[in-house]
Symmetry: C2
Subunit: 496 residues, 2 copies
C-alpha cells in the first residue's frame, strides 16, 4: 500500500504540475502575451489539458484509488483527504471525454481576445458566437453526467465543490429579500464622493499599491504585481505569487482591487507547503478564496481603523484629490451606497445583487429560459429590477466581466458566497484577537495573517469548503452575520 | 499510410506544443518570475520535459516512422523532411532515459538563480557545485550514446545538428590563425570612443530600442520587448515573438543588443506557418539563428548606410553624449577594435576569440583536461593568450555568461558559426539586391526582410543547417568571406 500511495502521489504530482503551468500561462495570457499569440496558446493549453486529463482518468489511477480506499476513512490525515479528493475528481473526470476537455479550454482561450475587442467596442454581437460556443460546450459537459435534476449543479461544482445550486439559491434568496430593501434604505445620494473622481496619476497608484501590499506583508522574492485589463491573482505555487490590478487614471479603485488580490495572494502563499505538488495542497474552493480577498478588501480596506492609519499616505500620494478632504468624509465616500453598473466597482451593499443577477442569468441560459442573443436584454431588465439603473451599453452591462469569455460559467456565485463567509471568518477573528482593530490602527497585520494561515490557509484543499469554514469558525455558511454586519456598518434600522 | 502520417503529426504536434510551452516558461523565468519561484519551475519543467520525452520515445513513434520510411527519400517535400528529422530526433531520444532528461532540465533551472547570485558576488565557488552537476549530467548523457570517438559531438549536435566537433575545429583553427594577428594589427587604442560611456538614460534607451525594432519592421500585435539580465529571444510561435534586452545606464550597448535580438525575432516570425506545430516548423539550428541576429546587429547595425539614416535620431535621443560627435567619429567609435572582457560587448574582430575560448574550454572539461575548480584559471590564461588582457574577477570572466548555468554546454560554437554564415548570406543578398545599401540609407528594410524570409526563414527546420545555407547562398560554411569582410571593413593589409 505504501508503494501504491507513492505511485499515486507521483501521478498526482504530474497532474498538479501541469495545472500550475496552466496557471502561469493564463497569467501570461492576461498580462504579457502579444494579443495574436492566442492562437498558439489555444493549441498549447489544449494539449496540456488533454495530457492532464489523460493522466487523471487513466485506469491506473482508478486501480491505485481502489487499493488505497482504506485510507479514505481517516477524517483528518493528509493521506485520507488525498484519497477522498482524488476519488471525487477521478469520478468526475472519467465521465468527460478528453476531446471535450481540450475543446473547452481551447474555446475559452480563443474567446478571450474576441471578448476584449467586443467589450472595447461595446458590441455584443461580435462576442455572441464565441459565447454560444462556450455555453454549447458546457451543455455537452453537463450531458456527460447523465440525467441530473439540476444541470447547473455540474457547473457550480467545478468552482464550489460539494455545494448545490439549491443550497446557493436558498442563501441568495435570503440575501435578495433583505438586500433590495436595504439598498433602498441605505442608498445615499447626499454623500459627497466627488473627490474619488478626477486625477489619480497611474505611477502614484502603482506606488501606493506596492506600499499597501508591503504593509499587509508579503515576501518580495516570491510576489509580483502587474497591470492587466481585468484583475486576478495567479501563480505557480507558494513561492510564486502573482497578483494584478487595473489602473484607471480617473479613480483610485485600483487601490481596493489591490487589497482584494492581496487576500488571494496571501492565501496562495500560506497554503500547506508539505502538500504543494498534490491536489490537497491547492486552494479549497473559489468561495473560500474569495472570502480571503473580500476580507482584506472590505473588512480591512474599507474600515475606519485601516484609514485611521493609512489616510495620510493616501493624501500625500494624491494631494490634488485628497488634501482638503477630512478622514470622516473620505471614509463616508469610499463606503457610499449607490447602485452602479460595474460589479467590481460596486459598494459592499449593492455588490451582492450584481452576483445574484449573474447567478440567475447563467441558470436561465443553461435551462433554456433565456437564449444567448437575448442575454443583453435580460441583463438590462434585471439591472433595472434589482438596482434600479439603466444600462447605457453592453460594455457596461453584459460584456463587463471576462468570466464567460474564459468559459467560467458557474463561477460568479462564489463571489457572494465568499463575501458572506468573509464576515463569518472576521467575527471569529475578532473573538480570537480582541485587539485586532487596535492592531490595524497601528498598521500591524502579522497576527491577522497568522490567524488566517493557521485557521484557513493551512488546510489547503484537504476538506470541503463548508468543512473548512466549520473548522475555522465553528459554523457552515450563514447569510445572517453578513446582513447584520451591513446593517451595523451602514447604520440601517432593524430589518423588516 | 495517410493515417499513419496523420497520427505521427498529431503526436508531434503535442511534442511541439510542450516544447513551445517550455519556451514561454523559460522566457518567464528570465524576465518575470519571482526569484523564489525557481523551485516550482524546476518541478514543472521537469514534468513537461518528461512527458515530451515519453511521447517522442514511445514505441508507437518508432512504428509510425517505420511505416512512413518510404516518404523520407523525397528530398524536397515537407513530409519527407518531417520523417527524416523525426527519425533523427527519435534515434537520439530513445538512447536517453526519461529520468536523465528530466534531471538535466531540473538541474539547469535550479542552477540559474545560483549563477545570478554568484555572478553578482563574483564568487565562482558558489556556482561550482551547480556547474559540476550540469557537467556530470552531460557526462551521463554522452554515455547514453555508447563509445563515441568525440564525446563533445554529442553535445554540439543538440545545438548545431549534423556538424561535428572536428568540422568546427577546422573552421575555428582557420579563424584563430587569422584573427590573432588581425586583432594585433587592427586594435586601435587611438580611436576616441569616450562618448559611448557616460549617461544614457534607460527610458531613452527603451524608446530608441522600440523605435529601431519598428523601423526594421515587425507586427506590433505579435511582439514584445522586455528588459532582462542576459538578453535572449524567445516566444511561443510565429505570432508570439518575445525579445529582450539589458539596459545599462552608462552605455548604449542595449541598442546593438536589441538589433541582434530583432534578427532572432524576425527569423521566428517568418518561419513556415503551415508547419508550425511540427518540428520541421521550428528554427533550423542555433547557428542559423545566430546568422540572422548577427546580420542585423553587425552588417546592418554597425554599417555606415544604417547610421547615415539613423544617426540624427540617436543624437536627439542622447544629446548629452552625442550632440557634438560627428557621424564619422561615431561610426569609428562603435567599430573600434579593442580586446575586452565581455563577449556580448565585444567588437566584430575580437568577438570570435571569445567564442573559441569557450569552445575549447568546454571540450577541455568534457575530455577531462581541465577540472571544474580550475576553470577560472584556465579561462583567465586563455583570455591573456588570445586577447592579451587580464581578467580582474570571475564576474567579468568565467561567470559572465548564463549558458553553463542553464545546461547549454556545446552552445557557444554556434555564435561564431552564425557570425561566419551571416557574412556569406549578406554577400548573396548584395548580389540579389544591388540597391541594398541605398535602401538602408533610406531606412527601407522590407526587401531585406523578404529576402531572408524567402531564402532562409521559410525552410524552417526542413533541412540540415548546411543544406539550408547551401540553398540560401549556394555554398556551405566558409570562413574566408568573413575574414575578407573584416579586412575590408577595418582596412587591414593583405593577410599574412
Amino acid at each position: 500500500m505504501a508503494d501504491a500511495l507513492t505511485q499515486l502521489k507521483q501521478r498526482l504530482a504530474k497532474v498538479t504540475d501541469i495545472e500550475r503551468v496552466g496557471r502561469v500561462l493564463s497569467w501570461d495570457q492576461q498580462t504579457m502575451m502579444p494579443p495574436a499569440g492566442s492562437r498558439h496558446r489555444a493549441d498549447h493549453v489544449a494539449t496540456l489539458r488533454r495530457i492532464q486529463h489523460e493522466l487523471l482518468v487513466d485506469g491506473e489511477t482508478g486501480r491505485l484509488l481502489d487499493e488505497l480506499q482504506g485510507l479514505a476513512t481517516d477524517p483528518d490525515s493528509d493521506d485520507g483527504a488525498l484519497i477522498r479528493l482524488t476519488r471525487r475528481e477521478y469520478e468526475k473526470a472519467v465521465r468527460v471525454p478528453t476531446d471535450l476537455r481540450a475543446e473547452m479550454v481551447r474555446a475559452a482561450i480563443e474567446a478571450r481576445p474576441i471578448w476584449v475587442k467586443a467589450r472595447s467596442e461595446s458590441d455584443f454581437e461580435l462576442f455572441r458566437p464565441a459565447l454560444e460556443r462556450n455555453y454549447e460546450l458546457r451543455e455537452r459537459y453537463i450531458e456527460c453526467f447523465g440525467n441530473v435534476d439540476e444541470p447547473y449543479d455540474i457547473l457550480l461544482d467545478d468552482f464550489e465543490p460539494e455545494m448545490t445550486t439549491a443550497e446557493v439559491r436558498e442563501i441568495f434568496a435570503e440575501l435578495k429579500t433583505e438586500l433590495i430593501p436595504l439598498i433602498a434604505e441605505l442608498r445615499n445620494d447626499a454623500v459627497d464622493d466627488s473627490f474619488l473622481r478626477g486625477s489619480f496619476p497611474i505611477d502614484a497608484q502603482e506606488r501606493l499599491a506596492k506600499e499597501v501590499v508591503g504593509l499587509f506583508g508579503y515576501r518580495p522574492d516570491t510576489w509580483r504585481l502587474d497591470p492587466t485589463e481585468h484583475p486576478f491573482a495567479s501563480g505557480a505555487g507558494v513561492d510564486d505569487i502573482r497578483i494584478t490590478t487595473h489602473y484607471d487614471s480617473e479613480t483610485m479603485k485600483s487601490f481596493f482591487s489591490t487589497m482584494h488580490e492581496y487576500g488571494h495572494g496571501l492565501y496562495s502563499q500560506q497554503l500547506p507547503r508539505h502538500l504543494e505538488r498534490l491536489p490537497t495542497g491547492g486552494p479549497c474552493s473559489l468561495g473560500i478564496h474569495e472570502s480571503q480577498s473580500r476580507l482584506w478588501e472590505n473588512l480591512v480596506g474599507r474600515s475606519r481603523p485601516f484609514w485611521h492609519f493609512f489616510y495620510t499616505r493616501a493624501q500625500e500620494t494624491f494631494p490634488r484629490q485628497l488634501r482638503t478632504v477630512e478622514l470622516d468624509d473620505f471614509i463616508a465616500g469610499i463606503n457610499r451606497v449607490q447602485p452602479s453598473l460595474i460589479r467590481i466597482k460596486a459598494d459592499e451593499v449593492t455588490y451582492g445583487m450584481h452576483v445574484i443577477l449573474r447567478f440567475e442569468l447563467e441558470q436561465d441560459v443553461v435551462n433554456g429560459r433565456v437564449a444567448i442573443p437575448d442575454l443583453p436584454d435580460a441583463w438590462n431588465e434585471k439591472m433595472h429590477e434589482y438596482l434600479g439603473i439603466d444600462v447605457p451599453n453592453d460594455a457596461q452591462g453584459v460584456l463587463q466581466d471576462t468570466h464567460w469569455a474564459s468559459g467560467s460559467i458557474g463561477y460568479f456565485a462564489t463571489y457572494l458566497l465568499g463575501t458572506v463567509m468573509s464576515v463569518q471568518i472576521w467575527q471569529k477573528i475578532l473573538e480570537d484577537i480582541p485587539d485586532l482593530e487596535g492592531q490595524i490602527e497601528r498598521g500591524e497585520f502579522a497576527a491577522l495573517r497568522d490567524w488566517l494561515g493557521e485557521h484557513v490557509h493551512r488546510y489547503g484543499r484537504k476538506f470541503s469548503p463548508q468543512e473548512t469554514l466549520r473548522r475555522a469558525t465553528g459554523a457552515t455558511i450563514d447569510a445572517k452575520p453578513y446582513l447584520a454586519y451591513l446593517r451595523e456598518k451602514y447604520g440601517a434600522g432593524v430589518a423588516a
